[in-house]
């Protein structure tokens, strides 16, 4: 049957051609949209700008900003850790019930029976700690390079709020294993809220305004007067749903503003003291 043999041969040849230059196939073209030529700066830029995952990047960037020494990469690493935390966190949610009966047992189950469960929990916890550190270092770098200055003041403020969300995320997660460590850390932490001026029952002017254990700001945080089942559920919802959602919105604004405020702040050419422009009239 010569027809069949020829058909197979031409099929193999076709496959070979595809393997050699996959860029020419219809599938490839449909996925990547633009042709990518090494020597053509325009298509190179399109490779970044035309990609949904990369389009937050500009096509081109200040040649010195590429160096690790200027940004330390801490903002990007913080974001990367956030995505790792989201992934590992979602996987942990498969094994966790935010109830007093189940929570602690779920952690034991995760540590002893779930394949790679312990690794999953460890990675989530250490990524959370690491993210606190990288966010602090990111802030330190922004201060050291004066990257918060005009026109980036507002983005600095968004960043400060993101720092607060990072700490809150970490803090709400602390309670979830429902062990002594988390219980007492959160007890200590939320006890301070009793002393909030005006809205805490032990704070200045709190009692005068009718604040008691059962209606002050700590009660609202815990859903009770001690850290118990309601507090566990609240911590879980803040930790897994509310704060991540809020943080993602703020992150979107943060990254967008980086671009709109003129991209990464430097390394910029130095301005000399003798070149300070006179202050514009207020």
């Amino acid at each position: 049957m010569p027809g069949l043999r020829d058909g197979i041969r031409s099929g193999i040849n076709g496959l070979r051609a595809i393997l050699k230059t996959p860029q020419k196939t219809q599938i490839w073209k449909s996925i990547f949209r633009v042709k990518h030529e090494r020597k053509d700066p325009r298509t190179r830029a399109l490779g970044t700008v035309g990609n949904v995952f990369l389009h937050l990047h500009p096509g081109k960037i200040n040649r010195d900003a590429v160096r690790y020494s200027y940004t330390w990469g801490m903002g990007g690493i913080s974001f990367y850790l956030f995505t790792i935390l989201t992934l590992t966190g979602a996987l942990l949610m498969f094994y966790y019930h935010p109830t007093k009966v189940q929570a602690y047992r779920d952690i034991l189950y995760l540590e002893h029976d779930v394949p790679f469960g312990r690794l999953l929990r460890n990675a989530h916890r250490w990524a959370g700690h690491l993210m606190v550190i990288t966010v602090w270092l990111h802030m330190l770098r922004v201060v050291l390079t004066g990257a918060y200055k005009k026109p980036r003041e507002f983005n600095w403020c968004v960043g400060v709020l993101l720092l607060v969300f990072t700490l809150l995320l970490s803090f709400t997660g602390y309670l979830l294993p429902d062990d002594q460590l988390g219980f007492w850390a959160v007890t200590v932490g939320t006890n301070m809220a009793c002393a909030t001026p005006l809205v805490g029952h032990e704070g200045p002017f709190g009692p005068q305004l009718g604040m008691t254990q059962a209606n002050d700001v700590r009660f609202a945080m815990l859903g009770g007067t001690i850290v118990d089942s309601a507090a566990l559920l609240r911590a879980y919802i803040w930790h897994c749903v509310a704060i991540p959602l809020i943080a993602v919105v703020f992150m979107g604004v943060h990254f967008w503003r980086v671009r709109k405020d003129g991209g990464i702040s430097g390394p910029a050419p130095v301005v000399l003291e003798s070149e300070i422009k006179p202050e514009p009239e207020r």
Binding site: R63, L119, L140, T145, K149, S170, P197, V270
Partner: protein
């Protein structure tokens, strides 16, 4: 000496980040400082030689004529980002394999941990409870720190130093932030490594003694001065607080107008900007250490005592 105790604290899995911080922060401060010095050298060269300033590319990074000022993000930036992601992933996996996340006994409201410590990034707040009442240390001060950070770019009226490391052009801003950052880290270190049962002070080398009793009596400023009348005590406390704000304000004023460039920046600062700056600088950067010294060295608990709140 008992070094096992401090070893135990240091090797606690949840304290690994603090040990890491003790290594990483000095490294990055040095890393930034080194780049600031390079920029500052360039700045003084250019200040001295206007002809060079007119033609120089004005960065400490190397530049040759004909080099593109911009590079395509792909591949030059993306490959670094990819590499960074890989390194972080490997680091995290090694960390997660080597050290287990802590899990204590099930939560038990009837059996309190001693010491019961907040997570390490909030231990600084917990340590501040020693120096201030909870409404101030746990609520007002954190709010002040956050608002101070939010206000930071708006009160820095220095037109120089945007987008490069420099010490020379931004002394005040860097020292101001640096002192705050250092205080925060120091509180965390004290709270983690030096505080034991009953939140008592244990030096490295001392064993945590759960039965330790201290005979320290904390006094109020009025008591030290021998004032019994609460009204007079309140007035004296208020006066002391006022005096502290005035003296610290004067000292900060002197610090921020010492060099000619700082004076030039000071002239560009609006009264509102300056007042906000002074408020945060006195309250957080000067007030916190002042109260720490009063409490730790002189055992003075309150400066101002009122029926509603104490400071």
């Amino acid at each position: 000496m008992d070094w096992r105790q401090i070893g135990e604290i240091v090797s606690q899995p949840d304290n690994v980040p603090i040990v890491g911080l003790a290594l990483v922060v000095p490294f990055f401060v040095w890393f930034g400082w080194r780049q600031a010095r390079a920029t500052d050298r360039l700045i003084s060269e250019l200040e001295a030689d206007p002809a060079q300033a007119a033609t120089h590319h004005r960065k400490p990074q190397p530049y040759r004529r004909g080099w593109d000022r911009e590079l395509p993000v792909w591949p030059y930036l993306l490959r670094i980002e990819f590499l960074a992601a890989l390194i972080v992933t490997v680091l995290l996996l090694v960390w997660a394999i080597a050290i287990n996340a802590p899990l204590e006994e099930p939560a038990n409201p009837n059996y309190s941990m001693n010491p019961a410590k907040a997570p390490w990034y909030f231990v600084g707040l917990q340590e501040m409870l020693v120096y201030f009442d909870p409404w101030f240390a746990g609520v007002a001060l954190p709010v002040l720190i956050i608002t101070g950070l939010l206000a930071f770019p708006y009160i820095d009226s220095n037109p120089l130093g945007s987008g490069y490391y420099t010490l020379r052009q931004r002394g005040v801003a860097l020292w101001g932030f640096g002192v705050g950052f250092f205080l925060w880290l120091m509180l965390i270190f004290i709270g983690t490594f030096l505080r034991g049962p009953g939140w008592m002070w244990f030096w490295p080398g001392q064993t945590w003694d759960h039965a330790r009793v201290t005979y320290e009596v904390n006094r109020n400023l009025a008591g030290v001065l021998g004032i019994v009348n609460p009204w007079l005590g309140g007035v004296v406390g208020l006066a002391a607080l006022g005096l502290f704000y005035w003296l610290a304000g004067k000292a900060i004023q002197w610090l921020v107008t010492r060099r000619p460039l700082d004076r030039k920046i000071f002239e560009r600062t609006s009264p509102l900007q300056y007042l906000v700056f002074q408020f945060f600088a006195i309250t957080i950067l000067a007030g916190l250490p002042a109260k720490m010294i009063l409490r730790l060295v002189f055992r003075i608990q309150y400066v101002l005592v009122t029926p509603w709140f104490n400071i």
